[in-house]
């Protein structure tokens, strides 16, 4: 599909195994967030299919998509919490809309979820009063309110200090272990994601590479290895990649300084 004149994810095929934490890695502009949005139906591909189980959701109408989304939960990069509502109301929202639970039952569930992400006494706070780490946790709690089958996570570690990063990582892993929930995580934080992942999808300019973390780390392809073993932010590497693969299929983001 393409953003305006920029084609992204051309000729890409990948899959995400059920019950596992799959991680989508790639440089900026490679289409990581696009994949998430395609799965959620927020974007439509120009060609190709998006299969959820046996269903091709890329051809569904908007109202049909709403049915599908009940099985999905999405944790947005900036939380995407409704800023006019309190934390309690934000979490209660999906249950309020779609379930027949009483007010008390809803509040009980909200508190349950909040404590499972390690938050107490935040009911009356407004989203703008929350710290970065708290926003992420509230967003996670909200995504889980309706017990989805698939959790879509967009850049969970962005803007967080190392401690909060580890906390989020631990939460995600625990949820996957205890609930067996399928997760698709988009991130550029290599260390955490390589630790969490059961399955890795790497979007390189040359094509898509899939596999489990161990296999990929020892891959024969030098660019794959280089990408995955970087401890710090991989932007330097990405810069080198875009330089090398200019003739490739993708139209990578041009950075200032690259020529």
């Amino acid at each position: 599909m393409s953003y305006g004149h920029r084609p992204v994810l051309r000729g890409a095929t990948c899959s995400f195994p059920r019950g596992a934490i799959s991680v989508v890695l790639g440089g900026s502009g490679s289409g990581k967030s696009t994949i998430l949005k395609l799965i959620g139906g927020l974007l439509r591909a120009r060609s190709g299919r998006v299969m959820l189980g046996r269903q091709d959701i890329s051809r569904l109408s908007e109202s049909q998509l709403y049915e599908v989304r009940r099985q999905l939960g999405m944790m947005f990069q900036n939380g995407a919490l409704l800023d006019s509502l309190s934390v309690l109301e934000n979490l209660a929202f999906p249950l309020h809309e779609h379930s027949r639970l009483s007010r008390n039952e809803i509040v009980a569930r909200v508190h349950e979820r909040l404590s499972s992400v390690g938050l107490e006494d935040v009911d009356e706070l407004m989203p703008r009063e929350l710290s970065g780490g708290m926003v992420k946790r509230v967003a996670l709690a909200r995504a889980l309110m309706q017990d989805p089958e698939v959790l879509l996570v967009d850049e969970p570690f962005s803007g967080l200090d190392p401690l909060s990063t580890k906390l989020i990582e631990a939460l995600l892993v625990r949820i996957n272990r205890t609930l067996g929930m399928t997760m698709i995580v988009v991130s550029h934080h290599i260390p955490s994601t390589m630790r969490m992942a059961g399955h890795v999808v790497l979007l390189l300019p040359g094509g898509v590479v899939e596999g489990n973390p161990a296999t990929l780390r020892n891959s024969e392809d030098a660019s794959v290895r280089r990408f995955l073993t970087e401890d710090t932010d991989a932007s330097e590497q990405i810069l080198a990649h875009t330089h090398e693969f200019e003739a490739g299929e993708y139209n990578p983001v041009r950075r200032r300084g690259a020529s």
Binding site: Q77, A80, H98
Partner: protein
């Protein structure tokens, strides 16, 4: 040159089509439960009550000016006793609905666009979609309907405060007899020709401003610059359209 004009016209028609589809979606979604009364009332509060002060102050000011100008003009023809009619008719037929619409556009209309645009920029609209809630149902619909309902109410209050202003100037300052003012007003104003047309105008303006402000917010580019541009666009577009529609409604409804 001609082809550019053609393309521009084509673009305008395309946009018009999109607005029509948007409006259609709002209507469709309105007739489905849930009612969202709470959100509607909140929006009505924001569009109506918060605009009240500016409307009443402006209404008073305009009424007073009409009183003053009206008196100065009528006195030349010895017709100062018709001041009530002049003030009332001007306010009811034109000043009320049009000025109210322009003021509300600037205040509540721009606020609506900014709010929706900001929600789009912070992915809140996407967030709603992922929770299987249509943003047009939850966000747009209450705001649009609130504007439609608030406009005639605000317009009526503008008119009444305007008449009070005119009365104050004409009777209090210029010395016209109070009873003459009122009776001239009552005799000149006809419900069917004047008041009904006024209400119709304010309802149409309310729909117009409601549609434009929500559409512009919904389709804003999700950046700060984009939201700002959308807000300005709302005020400009809605104001101009109100004035243009005003002519056509007056002509078609007119006596």
């Amino acid at each position: 040159m001609i082809s550019r004009l053609g393309r521009w016209a084509g673009g305008v028609l395309e946009e018009l089509g999109r607005v029509a589809v948007f409006a259609g979606r709002i209507v469709t979604v309105t007739f489905r439960p849930p009612l969202r009364a709470r959100e509607f009332l909140d929006e009505l509060f924001k569009a109506g009550v918060l605009s009240l002060l500016i409307i009443c102050v402006s209404g008073l000011a305009v009424g007073m000016v009409l009183g003053l100008q009206g008196y100065n003009t009528l006195v030349r023809f010895g017709a100062a006793n018709s001041l009530g009619a002049v003030v009332g008719l001007s306010l009811i037929r034109e000043m009320g609905p049009v000025l109210t619409a322009l003021l509300v556009t600037g205040r509540a209309g721009s606020a609506i666009t900014a709010e929706i645009g900001a929600m789009k920029a912070t992915e809140q609209l996407d967030g709603l979609r992922m929770m299987a809630v249509d943003p047009i149902d939850y966000v747009i619909r209450p705001k649009a309907w609130a504007m439609l309902v608030a406009m005639p109410l605000l317009s009526a209050m503008f008119i009444v405060t305007g008449i009070v202003g005119g009365y104050f100037v004409g009777v209090g300052l210029m010395g016209i007899d109070g009873g003459t003012f009122v009776s001239s007003l009552q005799n000149a104003v006809d419900f069917h020709d004047d008041v009904a047309g006024s209400i119709l105008k304010s309802v149409i303006f309310g729909t117009l401003v409601g549609l434009i402000s929500t559409y512009r917010g919904y389709t804003a580019t999700p950046t700060s610059a984009g939201v700002s541009a959308a807000t300005t666009s709302t005020v400009v577009l809605a104001s101009v359209l109100v004035l243009i529609f005003d002519y056509f409604i007056t002509a078609l409804w007119g006596v």
